[in-house]
Symmetry: C2
Subunit: 283 residues, 2 copies
């Protein structure tokens, strides 16, 4: 069942709550792939009812980013959700979510702002305001759907950590369920932005997972010096790769690590032409 208004969703949720059913939410921007599918499957398995939101959230795109050309495939998304057993696809318009006008302006919109320490690194450094938009829309979705569980992929690991922090800080009554990264057989992490890649660029994109797998292999062999582990990356990079960051951070607090250990997550972002790709791995 596809719903476009907040009022319709609230009505359905109210009835389910009355029956005492548990509710899972999978927030997405659509262009669903096997990674999203694994989140929806997990929710369907764990919860009585599952809501998938499909909303390309304008306020999490920075000026110059790909808001207009971000892939929109609602019919296919809806079909996938039905096949996997989701009960509601919630696909609101920007107006339904933010009202007329004033979109993008913190002059006229209440924002949920994650802590500076969590934001001023990794993707937050180049995507100024991005996580403000993410936290605000996720907060809205939580208030509309009032889920017991919400499912997020570990592909966007910084996002996941920031959302868990928001849930703790604001006492939001929802349990966040992290789900593993889904990869192509080549190792490439699934992403809606992979659609932008030409065949040649897709070949270049394999560098991200190769670098991470190689770092993990070196760590497993006993190397814990971070500079040495970083150095192993460069043999995988060529002139098509624009390395934005390669960082070793605490998987819960995003504190910088001085030595690699079992609670270290390695984060990488690379630009290949116009396409910005991210990936990460736990050591």
């Amino acid at each position: 069942m596809i719903l476009h208004t907040i009022a319709e969703v609230r009505e359905q949720i109210k009835n389910w709550k009355k029956e005492g059913l548990t509710i899972g939410l999978v927030p997405t921007m659509g262009a669903l792939h096997a990674g999203h599918k694994s989140l929806i499957e997990k929710s369907v398995e764990q919860c009585d009812r599952t809501v998938v939101s499909v909303f390309v959230n304008p306020i999490q795109f920075c000026p110059g980013e790909d808001l207009d050309k971000y892939p929109r495939t609602l019919d296919a998304d809806n079909k996938l959700c039905e096949q996997v057993g989701a009960d509601i696809v919630f696909a609101p318009s920007p107006n339904e979510m933010y009202g007329e006008g004033h979109i993008h302006s913190n002059d006229f919109l209440t924002y949920v702002i994650p802590p500076y320490f969590y934001v001023n690194k990794l993707c937050g450094k180049s995507r100024v305001g991005h996580f403000d938009g993410v936290c605000t829309v996720v907060n809205k979705l939580f208030n509309i759907v009032r889920p017991d569980f919400a499912f997020f992929g570990q592909k966007d690991a910084q996002q996941l950590i920031i959302i868990r922090k928001m849930v703790r800080d604001l006492n939001i009554p929802v349990e966040i369920i992290p789900c593993p990264i889904v990869r192509e057989p080549s190792g490439l992490a699934l992403s809606s932005r992979n659609k932008y890649l030409t065949d040649g660029a897709k070949e270049d994109a394999l560098a991200l997972s190769k670098i991470l797998f190689n770092i993990k292999a070196c760590y497993d062999k006993g190397i814990t010096d971070i500079e040495s582990l970083k150095d192993t990356a460069f043999s995988f990079l060529n002139e098509h790769h624009n390395l934005e960051y390669l960082e070793f951070l605490d998987a819960d607090t995003l504190d910088e690590k001085t030595v690699a250990d079992a609670n270290t997550r390695v984060f990488i972002a690379v630009k290949i032409g116009d396409v910005r790709l991210i990936d990460n791995i736990m050591l």
Copy 2:
């Protein structure tokens, strides 16, 4: 019943929700007076169960403000709540609400930030960050108590307007009930900060309500020119009064009015010695 932990409150609320009972929340900083009492009475009348929170919220005090000396009278507050029929007094410690350390730092705490247009005027101008702290703690209380209705006094009119805006912007499933200002027979609006006033200062404090009542009387006689209405104020002020603002704004949007009309709210703030008092009236 007085509860000090979030977990205890959640447990009780869960049981009430299961029984299908409606819940009212009256958020306060304690030092309860007849103004708060009227809010609690309204909630008790309207809701099956009433929760009064008593929490002097550190993050809504600015540096140099009266956080340490703010009146704390929990025993008396609890007695009043019981008499009026509240079911829970929720009195958490700062640690229970914000965890150890990091209080006051947006480096490490997720904040709910109201729109700049609503904040950059009236009390927000001199109390920088105040409404960020208010919105953050009210958001937390809403997530902990999950009330159907929440009751706020019109004495803090800017706060009330900002909270209604937050509820709309973030789709918070709660209905905000505004309640009229309660005044002493002299006209003085009740406030926990009136306790700071010496007898002489209390006499001077009457100027606020006198100015507002006089403006309203002039408006009722047909004067709508704002400068003329403002001019009537000065005969009530003496050398003890430090007028911070006297403004005519739209009661919903806080837009500045060019001509007084029926949706105009008049806001006043005056410092008398160290004590800052506010009041307001609808035309």
